[in-house]
């Protein structure tokens, strides 16, 4: 019944259902639905089309302009962090292929020295893509791997050093301290490098994504978000709430498991998909 339909309670509940099921988050849906019911009562929203238009415009306003990854002259360091299994290692493979194709000299630091085959997984990807990688044995101090990688990056005139880290829950204080130490090592040994801290989020995650973003941001200062697994049936609506509350730009989305499944985040396209 899409189109110039009269807006009854049934149509309003339908929109509420779509918004909830896209993982937008309870508070955001409640505040949108309050606006909607208010607009319908005042006669400002007459049809389902008016309604969809209002919500889409609100989302686009929140998401803002498309933002590309900022790279400067000299050494750029990209620290990739996030909860376990959110797609960090695979994202680094995708990003390094993209940057290499753009003519950048890329180096990868395989600093997940904790998880079984954490180093090996990153090394296999790097070898597949013919990109140099700095690694030590499993169980090594990740900060020491990062230190080595920075020395190597400076010596080789690397444009972009991408650092893979072990997955971790934001609730584990000692693991967040470990990340802070890694960041300090980068800032101390590459003080003039441009540093980006990218947080990976899983599109299938529910409202915990907002809590993850808040915690990682508080601890590390997140400069950009990467939303992976958007090829799943999940809509990833939580990023609208995250952008609204923390104003961190969404830079990339992951849409699959191969090295080519990386797209720059496009707000219009994302909002359209949310309503399909």
């Amino acid at each position: 019944f899409r189109g110039k339909t009269e807006l009854g309670e049934e149509e309003i509940e339908e929109i509420e259902e779509i918004l909830f099921q896209s993982d937008l988050g309870t508070q955001m849906v409640i505040s949108i639905m309050d606006k909607v019911r208010d607009g319908v009562k005042k006669g400002e929203i007459k049809t389902y089309e008016d309604l969809e238009k209002l919500v889409k415009e609100d989302f686009l306003r929140i998401l803002g302009e498309k933002k590309t990854l900022e790279l400067k002259d000299g050494l750029n360091v990209i620290l990739v962090i996030g909860v376990n299994g959110t797609g960090k290692t695979t994202f680094i493979a995708k990003l390094s292929k993209r940057l290499k194709k753009q003519g950048k000299k890329v180096l990868i630091a395989a600093a997940d020295t904790f998880r079984a085959a954490g180093v090996k997984q990153m090394v296999v990807w790097a070898e597949r893509l013919n990109i140099p990688v700095v690694a030590q044995q499993e169980g090594a101090d990740p900060s020491s791997v990062v230190f080595d990688a920075i020395s190597s990056a400076k010596a080789r005139g690397i444009d972009v050093l991408i650092v893979d880290t072990a997955g971790r829950l934001h609730t584990k204080k000692n693991l967040m301290e470990e990340l802070k130490k890694i960041k300090r090592v980068i800032m101390k040994n590459a003080p003039s490098a441009h540093l980006e801290v990218l947080l990976t989020l899983d599109a299938t995650t529910g409202q915990n994504a907002l809590i993850q973003a808040k915690n990682f941001h508080e601890n590390l200062g997140v400069t950009g978000l990467v939303i992976n697994k958007l090829d799943s049936t999940s809509r990833g609506g939580h990023i609208i709430t995250i952008k609204n509350e923390l104003n961190i730009p969404i830079i990339f989305i992951g849409t699959g498991e191969t090295e080519d499944d990386l797209e720059e985040f496009n707000p219009e396209k994302f909002v359209e998909e949310l309503f399909k």
């Binding site: 909830f20 090996k120 915990n208 049936t233």
Partner: protein, 294 residues
């Protein structure tokens, strides 16, 4: 907390002589928000609230001196009931080898959980497990399983040649298990989307050929609204025998537990509570109910 919120509502209503259905609706609205904030699926919440409303309009609440406590009790009891029984884990019975397949979305924790389960069956149940690396796609997946297996002293089969299909590899592993007397075989499969036709067919082929006694769907506790569709599709296509909820050591409320139970009726058998191979626990519905209610 939810009970504090409900108490505040009823305190305001205390001056009324009698509770009405409208008062109950106000309270139910608060409960609905709590469940949605816990990531319980929207449609599952609607069904749950209508069931609670029926009970809440009865005498125990409407004529109670402590209606807030009564409603909380109804909600908790209903939640615990729906979440299912306290699990006893995975019970391994003859005939051997007892085949277990671990399936689920990418990154949900399958490989780690295979290690945890093998460790549990060996140390607590005196079983002789054989781990099988059926993920031939993900870089270093076999290596990850091999390292885990060696850590816990369990035998394993992985693809050495680089050109075995997962189905063939499973067949090889089962032959080895029969020949060498392994009583349980745990197959670690590649992560996959429930909408990936080829990958789901691969699992269906394994299920058809080798009749696993357990097909466990591994679900990340922080999963959102799509938990319902993921669980429904895996169950419809494979006939899963139970769920394992991972990463419960985080602060996700875990409302997916209610959604997957409501949609499939299959039991939640185990809980993953960390990255170490000992971090596996039985499922206690009352603990999960408290967590979901916040």
């Amino acid at each position: 907390s939810l009970s504090q919120k409900l108490q505040r509502i009823f305190d305001k209503l205390k001056r009324k002589a009698k509770l009405t259905e409208k008062d109950i609706d106000l309270v139910l609205k608060e409960i609905r928000v709590a469940l949605l904030e816990a990531d319980v699926n929207y449609k599952v919440v609607r069904v749950f609230i209508s069931r609670v409303k029926e009970k809440a309009l009865g005498k125990e609440v409407m004529e109670s001196f402590t209606p807030a406590q009564q409603i909380i009790k109804i909600v908790r009891d209903e939640l615990v009931y729906l979440l299912g029984e306290t699990s006893k884990g995975i019970i391994i019975k003859e005939p051997y080898p007892f085949l277990i397949l671990m399936v689920g979305l990418q990154g949900s924790g399958k490989t780690t959980t295979c290690g945890k389960l093998a460790n549990f069956l060996k140390k607590e149940k005196g079983k002789r497990p054989l781990l099988v690396g059926l993920d031939v796609k993900r870089p270093a997946a076999s290596r990850q399983l091999a390292i885990i297996a060696e850590k816990i002293g369990v035998s394993y089969v992985i693809d050495e040649s680089g050109n075995a299909t997962p189905v063939e590899l499973l067949g090889k592993a089962l032959k080895k298990a029969e020949k060498e007397g392994y009583d349980v075989v745990i197959g670690d499969t590649a992560g996959r989307l429930q909408i990936d036709e080829d990958m789901m067919s691969e699992l269906e082929e394994m299920e058809r050929k080798y009749k696993p006694r357990e097909i466990l769907l591994v679900i990340d506790a922080m999963i959102g609204q799509e938990a319902v569709n993921v669980a429904k599709t895996f169950n419809e296509r494979l006939g899963i025998t139970g769920f394992i909820l991972t990463k419960m050591d985080g602060d996700a409320r875990g409302g997916a537990a209610l959604s997957i139970r409501e949609i499939t009726g299959k039991p939640i058998k185990l809980i993953g509570t960390g990255e170490k191979l000992e971090d596996l626990e039985f499922f206690y519905p009352d603990r999960i109910a408290s967590r979901i209610l916040g």
